[in-house]
């Protein structure tokens, strides 16, 4: 390579060794500022807690098993709702490819479902399904199903016309085209839906727990905020972040396996 030329930037390539410093830098700066502002001020600690108090709360909740138990419940609710919502939504969205008329009729209903604030549905769902696990799963399901339908339908309708043309000329039936072209082609959209739905499923489960529950991270955060235990609230929020990151990492792995043909 001639002098002065730099390789084109590839967003997939990390920052290398520099990344070891640069990636945690904003977090470290944030923790230092938080610590400095709250260290000698009980008033500020009451309102904002402090990194030290959060660590202490984490150790307490982790050693008592309370954190793990609540995290498990939230993960179970969110993942169950996520799987139900994504599988149901993807199945409906992809099968709309068979009939544009059905897709058109369904469109306003799906838009309505997608735009309803899930918080407004929570009291109804809790009344129907009780304060146990199922109401949270249903809220996570309702939060995710519309996104999965819309994304999958978009994917099914975005198939390269020349692929469809080739299959028609080849004498493929509609179900063969659906299986061999539409589903694999739309997979990238389904995975995008999964990525969006992780956050939405957690939100659905969290809202359910926040309104009425006896366990889960939402319940733990709600109970702690009621007694101004901000350290426990932050532990709950951090646990939610880690759950979301772990689930996103699983989707990344799935994407790498399913879309390995992308060079």
């Amino acid at each position: 390579m001639s002098e002065g030329l730099k390789p084109a930037h590839n967003p997939r390539v990390g920052l290398g060794k520099l990344g070891l410093i640069l990636y945690p830098l904003p977090l470290i700066v944030f923790l230092i500022v938080w610590h400095v502002l709250t260290n000698d001020s009980p008033d500020r600690q009451f309102t904002f807690s402090s990194p030290r108090q959060v660590i202490e709360a984490f150790v307490r909740l982790a050693s008592s098993g309370e954190l793990l138990k609540n995290t498990e419940v939230t993960v179970l609710e969110a993942v169950s709702g996520f799987l139900m919502g994504t599988i149901t939504g993807a199945t409906i969205g992809l099968s709309f490819w068979y009939s544009k008329t059905v897709a058109k009729i369904a469109h306003p209903y799906i838009t309505a479902l997608a735009t309803i604030p899930i918080f407004s549905l929570a009291p109804v769902i809790i009344a129907w399904f009780g304060i146990g696990l199922w109401s949270k799963i249903m809220l996570a399901f309702l939060s995710t199903v519309a996104v999965a339908i819309v994304q999958s339908y978009q994917g099914a309708m975005s198939v390269e016309p020349r692929f469809l043309k080739f299959m028609h000329v080849a004498g493929a039936t509609r179900s063969q085209i659906f299986k061999m072209v539409v589903i694999p082609s739309a997979l990238i959209w389904v995975i995008n839906a999964m990525r969006l739905n992780i956050g939405l499923a957690l939100l659905g489960a969290f809202i359910g727990e926040f309104i009425s529950a006896e366990e889960g991270l939402g319940y733990m955060i709600n109970k702690a905020s009621g007694v101004f235990d901000m350290a426990t609230v932050f532990v709950g929020v951090i646990a939610l972040i880690f759950v979301a990151l772990a689930l996103t990492a699983i989707i990344d792995q799935l994407e790498r396996r399913l879309l390995k043909w992308r060079v």
Partner: protein, 260 residues
Amino acid sequence: MENAVLNIAGLSYGYIRHTLAQSSLTIRDLALNVKEGEIVCILGASGCGKSTLLNLIAGLLQPTSGEIHVTSYGDNHRRIGYIFQQDALLPWRTVEANVMIASELWQDISEEEARGLVRQYLQTFNLNESILKQYPAALSGGMRQRVSIIQSLMFNPKLFLLDEPFSALDFFTKLKLESEFYQLVKEKNKAAIMVTHDIEEAVVMADRVLLMSQDGTFTKEFIIDLGEGNRSPESARGTTRFAEYYRDIWAELKAVIGNE
């Protein structure tokens, strides 16, 4: 017609209104016969209906009037190999899975027979067997188009439809592919209709060149006879007749386009 692979009679496509003058037709009362071992090239301005004609023959569009008869092997399949400017290799399938689509869809030959055919075609098109495990994204444009032809060949078509198949390739790859495809049609006694903008390509590949005007009719036919018995598209470019055909077709094409 003896050994005819394709017969088209009175073919029209478009919107028919009360009178013919009011009708908006892309294809107008076309007739075309193509026989075994023959390559027919269609030249014309953009939007004159060349690709529409191919889509009609392929069964992707229904004619407004007229008849299209494609000779088959006695089964219900139309057996057409359609090769596009941009290949139709499914990117999520390996090259092997792409070329095996025919046997997967029709299951008319055993998997072992199909693999044998693939190996044979890979040799014909100078491709290494190692590419079978690769995904299309890892192949060059020329390799992709070769695989695309093999993909179509696996359907054992009598008739090939080619819509500017080599226009996206570099000159040398284009020369090679033209020769390989030409040999294939002649040796296997297939037939081909090729739509192109390239007069040079039309002259060296075709047995007949048809000029299509904007009103969807053939205005002129050139029978191409480059003189030698064992010609190839590459050697044909060096003949004196090639230059004459090129000049005549270009003059005619200018007149057709100029009148529109």
